[in-house]
Symmetry: C2
Subunit: 379 residues, 2 copies
């Protein structure tokens, strides 16, 4: 018999609140439809066909992935228009081709002229490619740095002129939006993100090169952008679950967190006002990104905490150290009782698990396990 409630699940385990998930999906779907921009959700967060299907409901089904393992998995789930958003290398062409031969429009990304030439060469044998050029809108990760965009036209021309290659457009990701914590600050980053990629598209068109896709997006910029002009699509990802980091930068509110880790109390240490739980560095991840704006969150905060500022203050591999500003009420938390931890960064925490146990807080307080969704990990 499958588990009936989360009290029956072995800990640590990943809990997904479907009611919150649906609200998060609906909010983003409505916002981008209202803006007249296509939604290409970045499924690196959810890595789940079930969630991917919900995310594209009412949209045209295009998605983004971060690994070829995700591309293969979502292709099996019926997704046809897939952007692999990490710079391609020639050793991965064969895996891309295998999916394209199955009828999947798997699109790839580069910002490198020798790679563009290698793509053109690889297409000479009859295989086709669809390629976007990545632009760095200020985050300082991948992409041709805006506003100089060095080499943009050269790379695009190689791709545009190569038989068998579709030069599909330009894309950017404003990762620096994660380091702002006001709507105004994020909106300013969103405007940089928009100008960078719309500017790149304009430069290409001025050079006579069509640029059908103009793709931007992160969750914060999708939430706070004030102008989508010139963009054809947005690629938010973590909005499906949200997390402490998104809450503190202002992409969501405290009731919008869909993902938590359920853990058991495994020891009491009143001499240092701590308890231990069986969710440590592997179950929570060592991601502490939310500490940029709120140091007290540690490796995750305790849901419905019975003491002030109760959080996982340290982690070893399978032990989470829970501390609090007030004395911990140990009588309410005997060894064997359970806590839920809100993660700093949902994308990284979820990657330790092969499935979600799904509850629904709109039903019975969210205790019943109403479904399980699988996930694809690895590469």
């Amino acid at each position: 018999m499958p588990p009936q409630t989360i009290d029956d699940l072995p800990t640590p385990v990943l809990i997904l609140d479907r009611a919150v998930l649906r609200r998060n999906l609906r909010r983003m779907s409505d916002r981008l439809r209202g803006a007249g921009v296509a939604l290409r959700p970045h499924l690196k967060t959810a890595k789940s066909i079930a969630i991917g299907r919900m995310a594209v409901e009412g949209h045209d089904g295009r998605i983004t992935v971060s690994t070829l393992a995700e591309a293969r998995y979502f292709a099996q789930g019926g997704f046809k228009d897939i952007l692999y958003g990490v710079g391609i290398v020639p050793s991965k062409f064969a895996a891309v081709t295998a999916l394209r031969r199955q009828g999947i429009d798997l699109r790839i990304v580069t910002d490198n002229l020798p790679v563009a030439r290698a793509i053109a060469d690889a297409a000479r044998n009859g295989d086709t490619f669809s390629v976007l050029i990545e632009i760095d809108s200020g985050g300082g990760r991948a992409g041709l740095p805006w506003p100089d965009l060095p080499g943009l036209i050269d790379i695009a021309r190689v791709l545009h002129q190569a038989p068998g290659v579709e030069f599909a457009g330009v894309m950017t990701h404003a990762g620096h939006s994660y380091h702002e914590s006001t709507p105004e600050g994020i909106a300013a980053v969103a405007e940089q993100e928009r100008q960078a990629v719309v500017g790149a598209a304009a430069a290409l068109r001025a050079a006579g090169i069509p640029c059908p896709i103009v793709s931007a997006g992160s969750t914060p910029t999708a939430v706070h952008s004030r102008d989508f002009g010139g963009l054809t699509e947005m690629r938010p990802g973590v909005y499906v679950f949200n997390d402490l980091d998104q809450e503190f930068i202002g992409s969501c509110g405290p009731n919008d967190l869909a993902l938590s880790v359920l853990a058991s109390v495994i020891g009491h240490y009143p001499h240092r006002n701590q308890l231990l739980i069986d969710a440590g560095a592997l179950a929570l991840s060592k991601d502490i990104s939310a500490q940029e704006f709120q140091p007290k969150v540690g490796y995750g905060t305790i849901a419905d905490a019975p003491a002030k500022d109760m959080a996982v203050v340290a982690c070893s591999q399978e032990h989470g150290f829970v501390g609090a500003a007030d004395p911990i009420p140990y009588g309410n938390l005997p060894v064997g009782s359970r806590l839920r931890v809100w993660p700093n960064h949902a994308c990284i925490t979820a990657a330790a698990y092969d499935r979600y146990y799904v509850v629904d807080s709109d039903l019975d307080g969210g205790k019943a396990v109403v479904d399980t969704y699988d996930r694809i990990n690895g590469w």
Copy 2:
């Protein structure tokens, strides 16, 4: 056809050097045999039956695990004496019993009187348990804090007197050895670790309670301890692979690192003297423990680096940002070329992968893939 060399493997991927692994295993095996102490390797690092078998070669086969998933996996691999080293809770008794009924001597750990009583109650139905009491030798994680050892005799008496329960002894883990960086400092922690658990055993025996197992151990203390008197076994774990953290605290030398992540260069960013690789937060983990003694290691250093202090200086989910103190020689590292990254903390990095690709640096420079070993992840 399986991959012939690491150049054929899709990146990112986990590479294990069998020659280094064997030297690491031999060194620890010889050291503890010489000390007259049993070796109970902590297989939370390797999580691999193949490696576990090599680790216990010439010893009696006892092992330590950090999850019940590991316990089940190693039981299938023929291991019979397994210590589950994370504080037990009643909801896990059924899983423990299932393995014990298969003839596995799965031993559990607690430091909590109500849990000891629950174990005694659970044994009334004919099931048996083997239980150790955990002692905190100064690391401040789990265990009864030494030297006070509050409740030690009460907990031990409940276990010792319960029909069906074997009170098997005491165990401790000196996690604070990871925060020392000299042989003298680590040896001092090792002596605390020894005194705490030998002292607990003496207190129990004085109270008329037998204490057959007196278990201590971390890799640093196993390497640097100067006195094993009174200990019956040691439980080092990360020594099988070693990592940057162990190198910097002095548990091993720079040629003793068996585990690396093979990654592809995916982009060149000369305007900021960086390149990107396809190993980011998931492929390397966000563990930066080695930065305590060497901040320049970032999220991992580059093996055989062509520039000074070349390291992964930042990570997003699937992107690793590689920087260096000298100008990066991009001509030697075209997009698509490969780098190997030494991780900060092997236990955490390895957990992202389901297998090791095994090379042997004593053969042909370590390029041929000579084997693959599977791993057990999750709970």
